[in-house]
Symmetry: C2
Subunit: 311 residues, 2 copies
């Protein structure tokens, strides 16, 4: 079990809500089916390199025991995962040669369609929270239960910006950090320039905004303190980019939870560690690379990233 | 006159060959005609913040005296610019809202079609050379005349990679640094992964490769020493991106010429200064922002860039 925690009663330093799924992924090189997927496994697995995370999600009766075992092996607490009759969320996608453009071949919500997140009592004291990409009303609902939350990050997607904007704006007022990609930042603000987007987003509630640019890195904007640009590690073996954003977000929050403080320098270190974790995750399908990844490799990659931006 | 030189007889520390043109540029915000353009004015103007550059190019009888005056005011030596009867190279383009995608509306080569670069005697001793984006055979031709050249950078474009590959590969064997964007790196190597591209390019002659990613920054790969990732400054006022790559390349070489040595740390500083200059250049049409730009502003922007990557 990686990570260590001084968190709440169940020992979680942070908890996350999101999706859990069974994925089929196709690239030009390979085709894999029935893979562990969804934002939660990636995010909590990445966090586990720094802190003990709890997962709040739902699976159906077809969720393989082997997945649960492998997921638990990261040290993630799964007491927040509901098991309900029905089908687990399933997603299938195919990546183009550039490994960026992808076509969704299948999205079957299954039990995820009626997901009502319930925060385990033992998670309520956790200070760090990652509200993964689910309907904004559900993010607000579960956040209400988080009496101990001190630093809350929220992730969203174009779908919710388009279909649930009022609910999203409402929950945004209550979070500390927002992560979006550049397209979503533009969609949410109606502005084009990334700095202008960040300025507008920082007026919507969060004190910090991370604008993710995929293989081009990410920018952190904060109400206090100048922007920070974290590069993406120039990955050599890009096998499966699925979940990279969730891996990034999870590692980021895990690092903050371990640091037990949020300051400019800590946020920067957290972003570098997030970039490092994401760069490993994409080297394999599903969580397979994270499963073999060792703390020393992460540290080496963070050092390599630092050398790449050192002047 | 900005910059200072300890270069050859005419006092140039470096010289550059490239295009000189009269541009019409259209964006969603504005439409400007008859602007000073071409790679040479941008590159030499940017270099002038660090060193005295000589320009090797050609203009027609319609090249405005006012353009020559404004260009000279940067401190650029224009004795390498041939004046021949005929029309100066003309280009017209229109940018989409994203200020990245652009449509070329007009390319009239004019006297540029029969350009045969001649290196002024006084430039031959200059150690630093930027072979701007012209036919590879012409780049080789003028390089032969550069007896004092010690550090040569070469820029090219998809057109030459596609139509003059053998000539390009031949001149590449004789240069120290290649700059290309990611698309050109892929086209030239037939590989997709940027690291793999860099590795292949470093076997073609250059000891260094700068892969430019436009608004996402640039990566420097060297035969010795690890990669360096320089971010693009998150520009607030993006008025006209024309010439940004040339501004970047010119500033880079100008900085090297001033430093009078090429080492890992110097290359990194050069890239940061290049990024800073390019971020100013795009704030105005043509060279207009560079004309009002002061050395103190450049220094402040370099400091800002360093703060953005400081851990």
């Amino acid at each position: 079990m990686r990570g260590c925690g001084m968190g709440g009663a169940a020992g979680v330093d942070l908890w996350m809500v999101g999706s859990i799924g069974i994925d089929d992924v196709e690239t030009r090189e390979a085709k894999r089916a029935e893979l562990l997927g969804g934002s939660l496994p990636y995010a909590t697995a990445a966090a586990s390199f720094f802190a003990r995370a709890g997962a709040v999600g739902v699976v159906g009766s077809d969720f393989p025991e082997a997945f649960e075992r492998r997921w638990r092996a990261f040290g993630t607490d799964l007491s927040g995962v509901q098991h309900v009759p029905g089908a687990t969320f399933r997603w299938a996608g195919r990546y183009e040669e550039n490994m960026i453009d992808r076509t969704t071949l299948k999205t079957e919500l299954g039990v995820f369609a009626s997901f009502s997140p319930r925060l385990p009592e033992a998670y309520r004291a956790a200070r760090y929270v990652l509200l993964g990409n689910i309907q904004p009303e559900l993010q607000a609902h579960v956040l209400k239960q988080a009496t101990g939350a001190r630093f809350v990050a929220l992730d969203t997607m174009n779908l919710w910006i388009g279909t649930a904007r009022p609910a999203l704006l409402k929950v945004l007022r209550r979070v500390d950090l927002l992560t979006v990609n550049d397209g979503e930042a533009r969609q949410l603000t109606g502005l084009w320039n990334v700095c202008a987007c960040a300025e507008a987003l920082l007026k919507m509630g969060p004190s910090h905004v991370v604008i993710k640019k995929g293989e081009h890195g990410a920018l952190l904007f904060s109400k206090t303190g100048g922007p920070f640009i974290v590069p993406a590690y120039p990955v050599r073996t890009l096998t499966d980019p699925t979940g990279a954003g969730d891996t990034f977000a999870g590692a980021f929050m895990g690092y903050l939870a371990r640091a037990r403080r949020v300051s400019g320098p800590v946020l920067r270190e957290a972003l570098l560690h997030a970039s490092a974790l994401a760069s490993f995750g994409v080297e394999g399908f599903s969580l397979e690379r994270l499963e073999s990844l060792r703390a020393a490799e992460v540290a080496a990659r963070v050092r390599a990233l630092k050398r790449m931006i050192a002047v």
